[in-house]
């Protein structure tokens, strides 16, 4: 019995319950307590990784007997690797929070929710069956919504939290249906038994397709894939640390992780693989072009996450789950770095608007180096971690379908371009505001430094297979390497010319050309997805609401009587055996 695989998620979950107690006895210690809990969790997951020998499923006790559900954990290369990665990022983000959240109100709530968030994600990663997985899946969604709305005195934050909750629940409902269908077909929800039955008599053809599509929709909701991505850009209303958690360590990885965990099920059907590929390509391109236009630093990063998650779906659609896993880890590292650096900038300047920043390179040196490392990793400069994982996906594309490969190269150009655009607008050029800006506190700079170093050296641990052996990272072929380096250079050059060398020419172009103005407005609006949903909501849900409001009038006595009568009707129906 490897205790660490249980404790690594049970410790943060119990820590979440203890935070209010700690906060009550010694207020200043709240943050440090959370950091201590996260450190314990990281140590446990590291211990689990170092003692890992063979894949197995471990049962603790019967949880829900009537559903044939055990409390169980899956121990394999995937869960071990991802648990270490999640615990590592969470610890750094919590340390960053010590400085970033200093002086805010409601810190007990903040740290408690963050620990619950991290514990749920780790529980989800280790879960051995779909019921347990779904339980944590919902908890992750709840925590993210509550944390997005953390500054609940702001209207925008409350709306963003609610939006995240509602939109991701479209996916959640789909996943729940998939779990029910699977249980009805197989009488079990354990990952091992489900995957063993793929292609068998009870799970093939249409049934397999239905379950696969439902799971993909579930993953799309959590992992913010088009058209269920609209919650992610709005989620920027939360604190930057929460954004870093959601984008790098927890929430959005859950969907990709689910698909990787159940990958044999998707591989059994060419249609499902094509669906994954299509969704991925769509999200990767929509996210990338939106990131190019956004004028809010955090929204740039949010759209970039959508795009990077799209790349993971592409990798899955191409059949390379190893590349998807590595890209999940590498995206987590450089996106956490980017968000912490952005948080440091926002903390110092008090704005998120790119136009109001500039010239911060001189005053915020460490933050600058951190953000630079994040952008370079995202654009795929060797030997940074992003290069290995992204080129693994591009190589897989050229090996299978070269059209997809060229699409990925085009997306890489845009990726490098929006990355450098943000970098130039924030850190280069002339300072846009008068107030004096200083580098952030040590507790904020230290996690940025650690992440910057790990973005540069993490490939050593992954490539050498010394850590966890799930598959190696190969050096891409000469053609792939040339193409992706070309994409990096072209993207960076475009941004350099447009925003650093000749910003006035860009401005003129934007003002003179009607088409460009229209394009920018469309992109700033997020390509109209929100408008579409508002329209559907106004037509559909509000219509239904006005229909039911004729019955449920709101008069107390009438409504109460209605409830009682319905109860009686139901009782009669059940007693009569009619339902």
């Amino acid at each position: 019995m490897i205790l660490a695989e249980w404790l690594l998620w049970l410790v943060p979950l119990s820590g979440a319950a203890l935070v209010p107690v700690v906060s009550h006895t010694k207020k200043e210690a709240t943050g440090w307590f959370a950091v201590a809990v996260a450190s314990a969790s990281l140590l446990l997951s590291l211990y689990g990784a170092l003692t890992f020998s063979a894949a197995e499923t471990e049962n603790l006790a019967v949880w829900l007997g009537f559903l044939n559900v055990q409390l169980q954990v899956t121990i394999d290369g995937l869960s071990v690797l991802v648990s270490v990665f999640v615990a590592f990022l969470s610890l750094l983000i919590l340390i960053f929070s010590l400085g970033y959240m200093k002086g805010e109100g409601g810190l007990a709530r903040y740290y408690s929710l963050v620990l619950l968030f991290v514990g749920s994600m780790l529980g989800l990663v280790m879960a051995g069956n779909l019921i347990q997985f779904y339980f944590f899946w919902e908890l992750v969604g709840l925590c993210s919504a509550l944390l997005i709305a953390f500054w609940s005195d702001r209207e925008a934050a409350r709306r963003a939290g609610l939006k995240a909750f509602v939109v991701t629940h479209i996916g959640d409902a789909s996943l729940l249906i998939a779990v029910i269908v699977l249980f009805n077909a197989l009488q079990t929800t354990s990952f091992a038994s489900v995957l063993a039955s793929v292609g068998g008599s009870s799970l093939q053809g249409t049934a397999l397709l239905t379950v696969g599509v439902l799971i993909i929709v579930g993953a799309m909701g959590k992992s913010a894939q088009v058209p269920l991505h609209v919650w992610l850009p709005d989620a920027m209303e939360g604190p930057s640390t929460v954004s870093a958690l959601i984008h790098a360590a927890t929430m959005v990885n859950a969907g990709v992780y689910l698909v990787i965990r159940m990958f044999p099920l998707f591989q059994a059907s060419g249609l499902l693989m094509d669906l994954l590929l299509g969704v991925g390509l769509l999200s990767a391109s929509v996210g990338a072009v939106n990131a190019l236009a956004s004028e809010d630093l955090k929204r740039v990063l949010a759209y970039s996450t959508i795009s990077q998650l799209g790349l993971m779906f592409v990798a899955l659609g191409l059949g390379s789950w190893v590349a998807a896993t590595y890209h999940m880890v590498s995206q987590g590292l450089f996106k956490a770095l980017a968000f912490l650096a952005a948080g440091s900038v926002i903390h110092a300047t008090g704005t998120r608007n790119l136009e109001e920043m500039g010239g911060l390179k001189r005053v915020m040196k460490y933050t600058y180096v951190g953000f630079l490392a994040a952008v370079l990793a995202m654009s795929g400069l060797p030997p940074l971690i992003g290069f290995w994982s992204k080129d693994a996906i591009v190589s897989a594309a050229f090996a299978g379908n070269s059209t997809v490969g060229f699409a990925l190269i085009a997306i890489s150009v845009v990726t490098a371009s929006y990355g450098f655009r943000a970098l130039i607008k924030v850190f280069h050029g002339e300072p846009a505001q008068q107030r004096s800006v200083r580098e952030s506190a040590t507790t904020m700079v230290a996690p940025i430094a650690v992440l910057a170093v790990s973005v540069v050296v993490a490939w050593l641990a992954l490539d050498a297979q010394s850590f966890v052996n799930i598959g190696s990272l190969a050096f891409p072929s000469a053609t792939t390497f040339t193409l992706s380096m070309g994409a990096l250079v072209v993207g960076a050059l475009v941004s350099y010319v447009a925003f650093s060398a000749r910003p006035s020419a860009t401005k003129q172009l934007m003002e003179r050309s009607q088409a460009m103005v229209r394009l920018r407005d469309a992109l700033l609006e997020g390509l109209g997805f929100d408008r579409l949903y508002n329209y559907l909501y106004a037509r559909g849900v509000k219509g239904l609401a006005s229909l039911t409001s004729k019955v449920e009038t709101g008069a107390l006595g009438w409504d109460a009587a209605l409830v009682l009568l319905t109860l009686i009707l139901l009782t009669v129906l059940v007693a009569g055996g009619l339902v």
């Binding site: 008069a555 109460a560 009587a561 009682l564 009568l565």
Partner: protein
């Protein structure tokens, strides 16, 4: 032939529907609460009657006693809420309270 059980059952059912009817028309929260209690009494009586002549009467009686106990607590809480409502709004008419709302 009309047995005691039938009488109790019919009375209980009548009480339930009378209670529901008066819940739906009462203009005073105290009366609403009283009407709810009438519903509960009707249910209790029906439960008691359905146990009559059965093999395990003690069980149904126990449930009726439990229900009476719970009903009393619900009544107390409901009255407390009504007192609070009256202090806040100065009226017990649900329609007026609705109009006063934000």
């Amino acid at each position: 032939m009309i047995t005691d059980q039938t009488i109790f059952l019919v009375t209980g059912t009548l009480l339930v529907f009378i209670g529901i009817a008066s819940v739906s028309i009462s203009k005073n929260l105290i009366k609403t609460l009283m009407s709810f209690q009438v519903v509960v009494f009707g249910v209790n009586l029906t439960l008691f009657a359905s146990g009559l002549g059965g093999a395990d009467r003690a069980l149904s009686d126990a449930f009726v006693l439990l229900s009476i106990l719970v009903g009393a607590s619900v009544e107390a809480v409901g009255l407390a809420v009504i007192v609070a409502v009256h202090r806040k709004y100065g009226t017990l008419n649900p329609d007026e309270i609705r109009r006063l709302r934000g």
